[in-house]
């Protein structure tokens, strides 16, 4: 298992294998192939972009425009069409180019896709995977850098996953597409270039199961998406002071893995959650609230969160870096928890 591919390629491969396996899987989105009806591209069976970041590159040439469908700029339309197609037997995988565009099409998730099965008394099945991307760090400014998986995770009836690495990305995406529910698959756009080992086969990573990425006894750090790397750096630094942090990659934010988190906190007695979302009503608050209820007796100190500030994402590079949670902030926070740790 020595093959190393990028996060982006892993996602591409997940889509490819899911499409290969099940003809009912179709993709829809803006420029996910690109160049629809352009003669010279059609002649060469070429896609123009394969998505704005190139994630779906090559899929149209392989599966054709019937299965890799470029849409007009009509998010409510094609996201809702995906709900309709899913309700009637296909397994659509629409791409919402940036999660920031959710304001154009939230109804299809909030009022339709997530509620249909319930409202219809169990008759409907909406096997739909929404791919989107989130995250600051690409100088994309306030309207293209938000992290809104937490808003989506508050909606009953859908699942939301946030992979942190190529291996999970491929396996989770396949699991999402095989899932009979609406699953939001949120990619951190700044991770696309990240390389790691990824098996060539078709495999699934379980939705709803967190992973312990580093074991430790003194402090639990729960992370979402790329915040994992902040935590791993922090754990390294803390280890030098003899403090062993347990790092948990949450992976699924709805429904998140309460058991793994609570067991860890029971062991360590201390918890920091790192979430790039704005600080209110996000997954970090949800975790904190559950731990503060169910593991209260095991806690040795306050429950800490490190999140983005309560501001939009600024454009200037220096401000954007300041906006993002980083290792220094987490270390400072850890210091509040662990007396004998030097600042």
């Amino acid at each position: 298992m020595a093959r190393r591919i990028t996060f982006m390629k892993a996602i591409n491969e997940g889509l490819d294998m899911a499409m290969e396996k099940d003809e009912r899987v179709i993709l829809l989105g803006e420029d996910i192939a690109g160049g629809a009806k352009v003669d010279h591209l059609a002649k060469q069976n070429e896609d123009a972009w394969g998505g704005v970041f190139g994630v779906t590159k090559g899929l149209m040439p392989k599966y054709g425009r019937e299965r890799v469908i470029d849409t007009p700029i009509s998010e409510m339309g094609y996201m809702g069409a995906s709900v309709g197609a899913a309700a009637t037997g296909l397994r659509p995988v629409p791409e919402l180019m940036f999660n920031d565009f959710i304001g154009f099409c939230l109804d299809t998730i909030l009022a339709q896709g997530s509620k249909m099965r319930y409202m219809f008394g169990g008759k409907a099945k909406i096997p739909m995977t929404i791919r989107t991307c989130h995250g600051a760090g690409a100088s994309a400014a306030a309207q293209h850098s938000g992290s809104y998986y937490g808003i989506l995770a508050s909606i009953p009836g859908i699942k939301v996953v946030v992979p942190s690495n190529p291996y999970d990305a491929k396996g989770l995406l396949i699991a999402a597409i095989e899932d009979d529910n609406v699953v939001v698959f949120s990619e951190d756009k700044t991770l696309y270039g990240l390389k790691d080992e990824v098996p060539e086969e078709y495999y699934k990573v379980e939705i709803g199961k967190a992973k312990i990425k580093r074991e430790g006894t003194d402090l639990t750090i729960v992370t979402i998406g790329k915040m994992l790397y902040v935590a791993l750096e922090v754990a390294e630094r803390l280890a030098k002071d003899g403090i062993e942090a347990e790092v948990i990659d949450l992976i699924t934010v709805a429904p998140w893995d309460q058991e793994t988190v609570i067991n860890s906190v029971k062991k360590t007695g201390r918890l920091i959650i790192i979430d790039e979302a704005n600080p209110h009503n996000n997954t970090a608050t949800d975790i904190a609230s559950v731990v503060g209820d169910q593991a209260f007796d095991y806690l040795d100190g306050p429950i800490k969160k490190v999140c983005a500030p309560n501001t939009p994402v600024p454009f200037a590079t220096n401000l954007e870096q300041l906006y993002l949670p980083n290792a220094d902030r987490v270390i400072e926070t850890a210091a509040e928890l662990i007396d004998d740790l030097k600042k």
């Binding site: 019937e66 469908i69 069409a81 169990g122």
Partner: protein, 322 residues
């Protein structure tokens, strides 16, 4: 498109009566307080749902609106279970969890009433996309109101249906009002069918009180869709007998003039007269259908009333497919 057969005419007459009786009864029952929530009645618009669905099979899909009982009945949903749903009973089409605004039966191709005005457009084109992708000749029909034509979903969905030549028919039920707001105030275009050209698809305005006009226009459009020739927009001029929802005082309705004339028309006797004259229906058969329909609705009410309320644990069920 097939000429109207006797069998179909009987089917149509039964459905029109079922819808009318169903709605008139719900109106009554609502006033007694036995039915909770928001209820939007279809009475007065029977010719549309019936004239359109006469061309559909269980394999064709429809999306409906908040005013969905008529579409449900015309699409073949079980009357007992429908009534039970509106009562919020366990035996309801949706186990009592949907109610009037979310009544649905996917097995019958009925993709749901929809509490969101304009919510049906994208779902309908999604079903049509599925029909086309699977190379079936099934169609999808999207029923929508005049008010819904001003939602962005109208625009996005019809445009996509056009560029992808989807087998879908957009059936507008122009009953002059979106709640209290006149269509003539809310729409920049005089006719809703005028908007079809903005998407390069055919559009026409027809008399939605005339069953045969609907039957023929819908037949043509559905045929076109089945043949892969793309979507059509049909605007049906109609009127609702009751208020926007139960409880509406209807102060805004005009008590005279053109509007009153439209209000006074009744497509059920109009169709009966036509069908009897054309020998598609005998007077006896028509009487008998009327009678059966009354009984069927009575049965539905009894069924609903005698049904149990949902079990508490069902609150937590059907959120996810396990």
């Amino acid at each position: 498109m097939e000429k109207l057969s006797k069998e179909r005419a009987e089917w149509i007459y039964k459905k029109m009566n079922d819808i009318r009786n169903f709605e008139d009864e719900v109106h009554q029952i609502f006033s007694t307080g036995s039915i909770p929530g928001f209820v939007h009645l279809y009475a007065g618009e029977e010719a549309i749902a019936t004239g359109v669905c006469a061309h559909l099979t269980d394999k064709d899909y429809i999306t409906s609106t908040h005013r969905g009982h008529g579409h449900c009945i015309a699409k073949g949903c079980d009357l007992d279970k429908m009534m039970a749903e509106i009562y919020g009973k366990e035996t309801g089409l949706c186990k009592g969890k949907g109610g009037s605004m979310h009544i649905a039966d996917i097995d019958k191709g009925m993709l749901g009433a929809n509490g969101m005005v304009g919510g049906g457009f994208p779902i309908a084109i999604g079903a049509a996309l599925r029909n086309k992708y699977l190379k079936t000749d099934d169609v999808a029909v999207c029923f929508f109101g005049d008010g819904a034509a001003n939602e962005g979903t109208f625009h996005e969905s019809i445009n996509m249906a056009s560029i992808w030549k989807l087998p879908v028919v957009f059936v507008n039920e122009n009953n002059s009002y979106g709640e209290t707001t006149p269509q003539k105030y809310a729409s920049g275009s005089k006719r809703i069918a005028d908007r079809a050209s903005a998407y390069g698809i055919p559009g026409e305005t027809i008399d939605g009180k005339d069953l045969m006009a609907v039957y023929e226009a819908a037949g043509k459009a559905i045929d076109r869709a089945r043949k892969g020739e793309g979507p059509t927009l049909i605007e049906c001029i109609t009127y609702r007998n009751y208020g926007h929802f139960e409880g509406d005082e209807q102060k805004y309705k005009a008590k005279e003039g053109q509007e009153k004339d439209l209000a006074d028309r009744d497509s059920i006797p109009e169709f009966r007269e036509y069908a009897v004259a054309e020998k598609l229906l005998s007077a006896e058969k028509a009487d008998q259908i009327e009678q059966t329909s009354v009984e069927d609705i009575e049965h539905a009410i009894k069924f609903a009333e005698e049904s149990p309320i949902p079990k508490p644990e069902s609150l937590y069920e059907n959120v996810f497919v396990d």
